[in-house]
Each structure stands twice: as C-alpha cells, then as structure tokens.
Amino acid sequence: MTIFSLYILSKSGGLIYQHDHNLPTIENEKTFSFPLELKLDVQNRNVMVSFGQRDGIKVGHMLVAINGMKVTGQQLDDGRDALQVLQDEANYPINLKFARPRLTTNEKIFQASMFYPLYALACQLSPEPRSSGIEVLEADNFRMNCFQTLTGVKFMVISDPKQSGVDALLHRVYELYADFALKNPFYSLEMPIRCELFDEHLKTALEQAERPGFSNV
C-alpha cells in the first residue's frame, strides 16, 4: 500500500503542483573486474546501462558513483571523465553504484504536459460515444488515477496497483485545493501552488490514505 506521487495539472495542461510522497530509491552497488560485463552508454548527458542486466542492475539505470565518489553527469567529482576511468584497466577492480534515475523538475513538467494530449486522444479514439479521457492507467507495477474536475483541472495520483481508496483520496485533494489554494487571496489561477497550509493538509491526506482500512474521508 503505497502512494508514490501526486500531480495537479491546470486547465491548460501546465503542471501547477507536484509532490513526491513515497518514492522508492532503487540503488545497487557492485565490484567489477576488468572487462566490464555491462554495456554503458551516454544518454541525456548521463552514463546509463544499455545492455547486460545483472544483480538488480537494470537497463536504464544510471551510474551514480565510482568507488564511492559521486558521478555528476559524465564527470566524477574530482573532474575525471567517468567513461575514461572505466576504460582504464589499471583502475580495476572497481566499485560501481547504479540507481534508477529520478525525474528532474523539468522532466516532470514535460511529462505532465504530455498527458494532456493523451487524455484528449483517448477520448477521440473511443469506440463508444461520449467517452471521457483516461481515468485509470495501469502498468504491471504501478497505477495512475486521474480525476478531472468540471473546470478542467486534473488531479493525478501515482500509486501501487494494490492501493485502495484512491478515488476518495482524489476527491479529498480536490477539496483541499478548493479550500487552501483557491480561497487563498494570494493565489492566481493557472499558477503553481505555493501554499504551506495546502502542503500540510495534503501530506496528512496522503498518509491517511496509505493506512490500511482507509475507505472514505
């Protein structure tokens, strides 16, 4: 029973609020000997695994540390290039740490605006008349629930597929949005929500929803 994160999209599709509630950190550390069993590639200025999944290290994971020293982008903290360090046999055995990359703020904004056309397309390609857009999107190990208000604001919760009561939670978040964002005289519509009271109440609501036995507010 976990709620991973929450997104609020404005009527025009912009991200106006995002909160990561309970994101798991996926990290793996392993010592390698010379010919590296993994194929590493540079993608988006990061060193990523492109082939050779093993011991929990998956394709798409990012190199975050070499021998305990942090890797930022392609560079080690002492200024050396990570790929060059890996090519030199003299540096082995070497300890590498990989992690599943987290979305950066920019990526979150980008992904949120991607959802807007998807929602509209789902409606257009419907085999039944008068369909709404995507309400629940399910993959094998997470689920996204989306609730669109009459005014076009979208609330999205990303949670574990086994999490129950997400619909009630979405309505609760809508209520909080109406109470603490919209009634705030310093808040202007379509702008990011920066309001402490809203944050606090939201956290309480998310924690409540994670407790077993939560059904309605």
Binding site: R100, L103, L118, S126, P127, S131, S132, A139, F142
Partner: protein, 145 residues
C-alpha cells in the same frame, strides 16, 4: 461485456490488421489516419509510462480505462503491438491477447510463407481464426440491444 475492436501494429508503427466487432462510434477520419493517431497515442503512452513509473517495469502489457471503454496494449518482445478495446469490466484480456498472438498471429501469419512480414495482413484464414478466438472468449458477449 463486449469487445469493440483490435489493431495490430508492427515495430515500425505500420498497421498490419484492423478488426472490428461491436464498435459504436467511428472516429470520423479515414482508417489510415486513425491508425496513425492510435499508434502515436500508444507510443506516447509507453514513453510516458516508462518515465513516470517509480519502479522498473517488467512486462509489455498495460491498460487504461475511461468511463466508457478500456484499452489494452500488449507488446511482444519483437515489438509487435496488439491494441484491443473492450468495455470497462472485461476480464482476462491479457490472456486473450497472448492467445491471439501465439495461436493466431504466429500460426497463420508467421508460419504462412505467402504472408509477407511488415505488410498489412491479407490472409483470410487469419481473419476467420481471429474472429473465432475473439467470439469464443468470455469477454465477448454482445450486450442486449
């Protein structure tokens, strides 16, 4: 319970087959345009899902539902995509799609030397067998009119 329609796409996004059973609303555009739009949508959904997923994904199966229908996407390791629309409550569609792939697509398209790969499927036998499998599935039972 009902099954609306099925799209099959190859790895390059070309539509190989379109089958329709109880579809009630046409999209108001040509089939080719609709296929492009559908492929574009599932392509974006896939990239959206891989990015938004908090954990590593395992299988090539995902589904979304609206208030009227549910779309199921099954992708084989060779990136052939099966997209099936059903009503919201349909059960066991993952198994059905797998069955369509192994027992219909592989048997009557891959094993048929007269069926060129990467070309729309014209085999009549394929269409007949597909129709049979879909109509036999418990998810296919036309709603009373």
């Amino acid at each position: 319970m009902t099954i609306y329609n099925l799209y099959i796409f190859d790895r390059d996004g070309q539509m190989l087959y379109y089958g329709e059973w109880t579809r009630k609303k046409q999209s108001g555009m040509s089939r080719e345009e609709e296929a492009k739009l559908m492929y574009g949508m599932i392509f974006s959904i896939k990239s959206f899902v891989t990015k938004m997923s908090p954990v590593d994904l395992r299988e090539g199966y995902l589904t979304y539902c609206t208030n009227k229908y549910r779309l199921h996407l099954f992708e084989t390791p060779s990136r052939i995509k099966f997209v099936l629309n059903t009503d919201v409550g349909a059960q066991g569609i993952k198994e059905l799609l797998h069955q369509i792939y192994t027992q219909v697509y592989v048997e009557y398209v891959s094993f048929n030397p007269m069926c060129p790969l990467n070309k729309p499927i014209e085999s009549e036998l394929f269409a007949v067998k597909l129709d049979e499998v879909v109509r036999q599935s418990p998810a296919y039972a036309s709603r009373p009119a």
